[in-house]
Symmetry: D2
Subunit: 382 residues, 4 copies
């Protein structure tokens, strides 16, 4: 077996491993439209390899099931009709066991491909990266599913707890700099082209904002004071009746936070605040008379910061870099078509699979989303 396939197999095995502790009943629950059931993730990542590798490149390949293209396509318009996103939780069938059979069958067919073929290599790499992205989403979704059970069960997925980093400020001198990906290593198309940007002088905190810091904002009435908030953030707050980050619960005068591994736990002052929306991150920064970093500033300091803790909101909208052009066909739908109404997050999280990150990595979410592993650090102008 080609050595490349051992990476493939490790990554594929990791998805299954993340679901090991689940009960069968957990696998097709969808308590919110942005959540995908774990079974769906397991099948969809498999469909990706079947559709973009086996069907075009394995001679005489017959689809595992004629309907799975409809069931497990996510958003690839090029690949035709698909189950409505908010109906994913309706699918009790195929069963979990059948999805595992699907995975096994595709995995064994994939081994028949020749990874030395450049286009096959390119797509296998993309499929692996794609599966890693879904592994991170799996963690978010499993946490959301269990954290929205009235019984608040806990489950150990083997994810580390995020840390704060060193306290202090890192200076960024005014300068013409470069950001973005270049070179032959894998990166998503939205990370390039590498290009020049002018950095104004500023400094960036070396530490994430802690739960203790954030509690001061809450206790100072931050969620009741409109002047900290973007106008749409304030409306969001009112409409959703939000008073704290996701998974926080006030019991009497104490705050408890749901954690996937430990269940409901008292607030941990020295842990980073997590599960906040852009609106909350931005309001908190204004409360401190600071701001969020831009993605260029964040990328510039990447090696000096403790990455891989929580995705950090930046003040940058998710837009194409100068010279960006999406590739054609279904795989071109991967990134470019989402470049509106989303903000960039940088840095990675404890839920990001090992080996998946780069300094140039651009994650992105809508400003009201917060079920992902999001946090923030502050910046300020000179």
């Amino acid at each position: 077996m080609h050595t490349f396939f051992s990476v493939y197999q490790q990554v594929r095995a990791h998805s299954v491993s993340l679901c090991k502790a689940l009960e069968i009943e957990d696998f097709n629950t969808q308590p919110a439209v942005f959540v995908s059931p774990p079974k769906w993730h397991l099948a969809h990542t498999t469909w990706f390899f079947e559709t973009f590798l086996l069907q075009p490149f394995l001679p005489n390949y017959q689809p595992f099931h004629p309907q799975f293209g409809f069931l497990f396509n996510s958003y690839y318009q090029h690949e035709g009709k698909r189950v409505q996103r908010d109906h994913r939780g309706w699918m009790s069938r195929p069963t979990v066991a059948e999805v595992y059979e699907y995975r096994a069958a595709i995995d064994s067919a994939i081994l028949q491909l020749d990874p030395e073929e450049p286009e096959i290599f390119r797509r296998l790499t993309l499929g692996i990266q794609h599966e890693q992205q879904h592994q991170e989403l799996l963690v978010y979704d499993i946490k959301y599913i269990l954290g929205h059970q009235p019984l608040f069960p806990s489950l150990d997925l083997g994810i580390l707890q995020p840390q704060l980093g060193e306290s202090g400020w890192i200076k960024i001198e005014e300068q013409l700099s470069e950001i973005g990906h270049s070179g032959s290593q894998f990166a998503f198309d939205n990370e390039g082209p590498r290009h020049r940007v002018f950095l104004n002088g500023s400094q960036i905190s070396s530490q994430l904002v802690s739960q203790e810091d954030y509690l001061e904002f809450i206790e100072a009435g931050g969620y009741q004071q409109f002047s900290y908030w973007l106008d749409e953030g304030w409306s969001w707050l009112q409409a959703q009746n939000i008073h704290a980050p996701l998974y926080w619960q006030e019991t009497g005068k104490e705050w408890w936070i749901y954690d996937l591994k430990d269940g409901l736990q008292p607030l941990k002052p020295q842990a980073p605040v997590q599960h906040i929306s852009y609106y909350e991150a931005d309001a908190y920064a204004r409360f401190r008379a600071k701001r969020l970093p831009t993605e260029a500033e964040r990328e510039f300091c990447h090696d000096q910061l403790l990455n891989h803790q929580l995705w950090e909101w930046t003040q940058s909208a998710y837009l194409p870099y100068p010279g960006y052009r999406a590739e054609g066909g279904a795989l071109g739908e991967y990134n470019g078509k989402f470049m509106i109404n989303q903000m960039v997050l940088r840095g990675g999280s404890v839920a990001t699979p090992p080996g998946h990150l780069r300094a140039t990595y651009r994650n992105f979410f809508h400003p009201d989303e917060r079920w992902m592993y999001s946090g923030l650090r502050l910046a300020e102008d000179d």
Copy 2:
């Protein structure tokens, strides 16, 4: 063991038996707000016995789980807060196995009660009737869950196929008659008091409307011609883009109908049309220049008709009979509080558990509902 308990055990066993063929994955799926997941039915019917029998009547009874009152209360305001109806499908926990343990524990505690105590007897009887109602809902909900899978799986629950009955018309002479329940046998409170009603002369069809009959309505453009429809029915049709009964699919020029036992099947001309809303039943009657029977007419003819096939829409609104008064407390919430915006259905269905029906039985649904086993028969004035 008291002989009464053998009825209890038979009924309880039947609920479990209906779920025998399900996969674990089917048990907590909720593809529409009016559908309850099978696991929820199994737990809720158990909660009913625990709440209304064990807690008040079994000395020193400790709840099986402190939170199950919150999880499995349906709509009893007297019993406090409960899981939002449209979140029932979110509950992957407790697992199916845990719910079966819950059932077993409650069943064994129930046997310690004295069914000769009149109030215990009365409530046990109500609990059994309540469970039977949920057995029928289980059939509707399982069909809806499987019938909304993209793969249209089939499942044999042991339910018979509905039959048409004899063709012909049964004459009702103009007269003062009596309807409603009286006597010491069990009936729901909404079936009484027995009272006099004046019947105008009419006749009522001895046969349900068949699929073939109904197809003529469709092919005559019935769903495109507003003059057959109540105004709100016409709006419903447009808003929901409805062209046929629930579970009908047009493939080319053929109609296929999803059946729980057989999966997708060609239309069966000599089977009764099923899964229609009041709006559709009423429109069809107008198309035939007939009308739906009233509930008094339907009750008057009960013994002359082939009951237990499909619930038949009547032209009667679900309202209290003269002299009706709901009992106090939580059990008084059973029927009376639903007496608005619903229409009465009579006759029973193949999904109604044996022994559950009476001539005076009043079923009721909103005019746009159709996932239940509903059909219709025609009537006309002299």
Copy 3:
């Protein structure tokens, strides 16, 4: 001029007279989908005469404006497409002055018809009755428009204040009775055919429920106690955040009520409570351990009661009488197609134009509506 036309002209003049005190700005305001702007009422009633009389019966009649059929049709599907109901307030054009020109032109053309022609006579009569119904709606809608201004302006439309009636109970003996219209005088089709109904023994209050009576319900926590409410009424209450009848405002510990003629006024204990929904009427009756009358009971007592004060909710759903059949064509859309999800109100109101009422008159609204002049009286079984 035929003497019949003097009735026509009086009725037509009354519509204009009701709008005399309005400012131009009031004429096309639509603060809720169920409200029609006054200008629209003036034009729509005119369109009715143009469409159902001038176009079919006046030789060579040319429409006043080719688009007015689209603009001012209400709900007559037979007459083709029309402006969406919730867009009526968008129409600043035609202006008020142009609508008055339209009225004048149609009125003068109508005088050229021969009212001795039976079908013309029948339709003219219907058109007059139709305009009278809109005169009552005009009062509701003008009150709603002005009562939802932040400045709460008052306006005198010449409408009397409703009175309570005599205190006492009127006995209804158990009997076979008859209700419904018969004979050659005008009545809407839904008032017939006259038919027999069996009345159980009961008594009915000779007095409407007063504001003082109703205040006791509020002060006893009636809006916070679910057991008084129908289930859908309780949901309505919560969703709409309702604590009192429409137009009531609590200021400190005092209740103020908006009245069209007098503006915001303190509650008047001896005036009938007004602007309540069916849900509220039904809950109040349950609070008093009474019930609402049926429409048969209410019709039976009609002459013994002080009518023409407020429309009184009955416990009867709006359904066809035995033997009812709507006429064909557009005019058949007048009543029958609304016979679902509505409850009957009887008795008339101070806003009903003189000469428009009959003992058999059936008004109907949805159970959550309350911008009309609605009130209630109680009944009880023997």
Copy 4:
């Protein structure tokens, strides 16, 4: 009178002049939540001067009406509660005549202030700029109101027709450049601080996209081909059933476009396409294998382009410039709190009042909005 007041009076008179041709009925119509009724604009701009100048600076000033602060505040949270945005059209009162009295009273009081006082001068200037912004919105809103009448009336507001500009491409060399406002002349806070940005080499079209150009996109199936669209744009298209820019109507095989001055008119090939959303602008650019300019590119070329025709969508999100900080208090709510989910438009439009524009001016709208005078020009990378 201070010469500065003649500017004040000219600007105030222009608002009235724009409404001269309206009928009274047009003044309080609100056919969409984003539209404000003309009467509201006239009152709100007056409220701005009353609230931010007369109340703080004119000794013993008594509000014109105690409730107008509630009625005519737009979104200034600092100034307390206000009429819900979608209820602005409900306000038939105060009448148009009363609003003109309000304007006259405030105007005469304003003349008593001393414009040499720096803070008074600063606020008067802001009030004038604010009124000019509402003058432009008045044009959009009047067009929307009349363009959504079923009768499509026309109205001459004295606005010029937009022109295409010269055909050709303007080269932008790769360079470090500066954008943003500096200096003592008035600019909105969001236009600064002036700061350096790196421009990659590109070129920008000297001409707006014409109706003829855009028609090619439509005729090539642009609205049916997902690959041209951002994902949220494609969803927007489907949900709103959009097939062309706002005000375009297809009649048979011809396109007609509603114009405020001329009513419904055949498409004008050599006029710029107008009333497009960001989604449409971006899709069109992708269809041409080009892109939209960034705001820095657009500002760099400002003097070389024919400005003041249509607001041109840029590819830049509306975000704070480096070093931007909103001022405190109510006037700080002017710009900063809207910096999310909006895109920048540059260049001005024929509806922008004379003297209101600058090269650094940043207009901003949500990507789905198109009732404003929006168009586009293309850019491309070297």
